[in-house]
């Protein structure tokens, strides 16, 4: 049984905030306050419903908390309806209604603000704006020094840009609308910051790589560069998995992670971040007739080489049969 703390919540409001983005206002079902959290935290949302054929279906996706960390009365998340969705974002957009119940994990923070930083520069691409909204709220309440650089495809695609400028002012909130040809001057941004400035990037992988490389080249210390990527578990060819203890065997689908396949068979496995970073889903490999594809950021090189461990939320397998100690 996954031993995570869970919070049942009710959807109190759903607000379209941009072309393909909806905001969900979530409140506790039992009336008790939800836990306080630090800006940058996310929750894993468990959605239960039925698919087109009427079969029960479970989706679990991590979403950044964008509401104020100082207000435990409710949580807010924003969900982008992804084109090649694995099911979760379409479910949130198309099936979830006001009054529906969801299960949230406890907040987990893999993208915190550096408390020792003297200044914080937030660079957001598209839906990557969400963690910064909670971070800025938290920093504003203690008089922190921050500025936001937010790029989006079009004014109707970009979420919250108007509210952010109104709340924090145009000198702190810099907007770059791609459709209007506005581009950020990265070199200027990175070359004129005081010592102790921290850089945070959230958006598509290419954008993170671009800014991170530029910052390194400009001489920023590694510990002052932070990023978070919203990664769906990578897809790949289907493969066969056998669970030694549970004595069952099944195929892991092309767009399905090992963890999801296990859950689809009503077996509980430990998990937390579902993004290959936190270590909770580490599983022992009994045997592997082929090659494990390690897609996580957690295992050491020795661990990977040993072939005895696998992070089932993101890693895959190529070959005959993968046997796990579950």
């Amino acid at each position: 049984m996954s031993k995570n703390v869970e919070h049942p919540v009710e959807v109190a409001a759903i607000t379209p905030v941009a072309d393909t983005v909806k905001r969900f206002h979530l409140v506790s079902v039992d009336g008790k306050p939800l836990p306080y959290f630090s800006g940058g935290s996310h929750v894993v949302v468990t959605m239960r419903g039925t698919d087109a054929a009427g079969a029960p279906v479970v989706y679990r996706n991590p979403y950044s908390l964008m509401s104020s960390p100082n207000d435990p009365g409710h949580y807010e998340i924003s969900v982008l309806r992804v084109l090649d969705s694995r099911g979760g974002s379409h479910f949130m957009h198309d099936r979830v209604k006001v009054g529906d119940r969801l299960i949230l994990s406890n907040p987990v923070n893999l993208f915190p603000v550096n408390g020792t930083g003297r200044k914080h520069i937030f660079v957001a691409g598209g839906i990557g704006i969400t963690p910064f909204m909670a971070m800025m709220d938290g920093l504003a309440s203690v008089g922190g020094n921050f500025e936001l650089h937010y790029g989006f495809r079009s004014r109707s695609h970009g979420a919250y840009w108007r509210e952010l400028q109104e709340r924090y002012g145009a000198n702190r909130v810099n907007l770059y609308c791609e459709g209007e040809g506005q581009m950020i001057d990265v070199d200027h941004l990175l070359e004129h910051q005081p010592l102790g400035t921290n850089l945070y990037i959230c958006g598509p992988a290419a954008m993170i790589a671009f800014f991170t490389d530029k910052a390194r080249l400009a001489g920023w210390p590694e510990e002052n560069i932070h990023s978070e990527q919203f990664l769906a578990p990578p897809s790949g060819k289907p493969f066969l998995v056998r669970l030694q203890k549970s004595k069952i065997e099944f195929m892991v689908g092309e767009h399905q992670s090992i963890l999801e396949a296990i859950e689809a068979h009503n077996i509980d496995a430990n998990f937390l971040c579902r993004g290959g970073a936190c270590g909770q889903c580490e599983t022992s490999v009994c045997s592997a007739d082929g090659e494990i594809q390690h897609n996580d950021h957690y295992l050491t090189d020795d661990d990977r080489q040993s072939g005895k461990k696998i992070m089932i939320c993101v890693s895959r397998f190529k070959g005959g049969e993968l046997v796990l100690d579950l």
């Binding site: 703390v5 935290s41 406890n106 907040p107 408390g115 270590g279």
Partner: protein, 346 residues
């Protein structure tokens, strides 16, 4: 009140004694007849009723006297309580944690009433009744960490999490086993563990840090550490070594029973919600040898553990000088009979 608080001292005349109930609930840390380091972390979930694990934060009969001793230590040396400037949110997190835990576990002693950010805290044991605004330091007589830890047994270290490491950026440390907050403040996990022998090569700290970085809110963990102290002195700090160091030379076969103490630290680790920091309470329990051997299993086992202890560990724990005398004294309580696994008295 549900606990009969004792009036006793941890210095000068050393009147500290454990009641029979306190002896029986003592967290004897040895589950087998020998000891070596391990990460030895387990979930900090409620344990047996009456045990030191029953509540997330344990309050016992020594509470009032320990707080008096803390106040004396701080009056003599204010540097035992420090917090770096970026740790204020974590200080408030800690205040909330300790007030919530204590008021839930001991409602006849501690009460907490929250009205938005207007809080009312009553501590009957220490005669405290304060109203304050959560988040506003000017409404408390001390900064939040100092305020609440002056009312909480044990030391507290608050660790900031950044750069895939933990940093000791705040703490209240007056009951320590020979380490200095003033020296360690600002150090990271590997740095403050620097002096510990053998453990680095064993990879204990790499594994422990990885685990700690992923510690989740709502899922605290705990572990035990132990050493020995001559006389029931809580403040065995490097700063006061000149006061207690020489005590190690005063152990004789006649006085082992009353003078030599096993010192056990119940260490727990809680993730703090607003700051994402980790608080590390280090709760200190003392038991004299003559109290310890009233539990036959413990007398047998501790004799074996101490006799076979790796010399480098004995040196690091400061036991070398008096170990032979204590082992000799304990041998009269070890008839060689087998002891059961686990640490419960049989």
């Amino acid at each position: 009140m549900s606990i009969a608080f004792k009036k006793e001292t941890f210095r000068d005349d050393f009147t500290f004694r454990n009641s029979p109930a306190a002896i029986r609930r003592f967290p004897f840390p040895f589950a087998e007849d020998s000891y070596m380091y391990s990460v030895n972390i387990e979930p900090h979930v409620p344990g047996k009723t009456g045990s030191v694990f029953e509540h997330p934060i344990d309050v016992d009969e020594h509470y009032v006297s320990e707080m008096e001793d803390r106040a004396k230590v701080l009056a003599e040396d204010p540097l035992r309580c420090q917090a770096l400037p970026h740790m204020m949110t974590a200080q408030w997190d800690l205040l909330e944690l300790l007030m919530e835990c204590k008021s839930k576990s001991y409602p006849d002693i501690f009460t907490l009433t929250r009205n938005g950010d207007k809080w009312h805290w009553v501590n009957k044991a220490l005669g405290i009744d304060d109203k304050f605004t959560f988040g506003d330091t000017s409404t408390l007589p001390y900064e939040p960490m100092e305020y609440i830890t002056r009312q909480s047994q044990g030391d507290f270290a608050i660790l900031d999490q950044r750069d895939n490491n933990l940093w000791m950026d705040a703490g209240m440390v007056t009951t320590q086993a020979d380490w200095s907050l003033d020296f360690d403040i600002g150090m990271n996990f590997f740095e403050w563990h620097g002096p510990v022998p053998l453990a680095h090569q064993m990879g204990v700290f790499e594994r422990a840090l990885k685990f700690m970085l992923n510690l989740q809110h709502g899922q605290p963990v705990r572990r035990f550490n132990w050493t020995m102290t001559i006389n029931p002195r809580l403040d065995t700090s490097p700063e006061n070594y000149h006061k207690w160091g020489p005590d190690r030379t005063t152990v004789t076969p006649e006085n082992v029973g009353g003078k030599v103490h096993l010192r056990v630290e119940l260490q727990s680790f809680f993730r703090l919600p607003r700051s994402n920091a980790i608080v590390f309470p280090i709760r200190c329990y003392l038991i004299s040898m003559q109290e310890l051997v009233t539990i036959p299993k413990w007398g047998r086992r501790f004799h074996r553990v101490l006799k076979n202890l790796h010399p480098e560990l004995a040196d690091y724990k400061g036991l070398t000088r008096y170990r032979p005398t204590v082992v000799e004294w304990l041998s009269q309580y070890d008839d060689g009979a087998p002891t059961s696994p686990g640490w419960d008295p049989e």
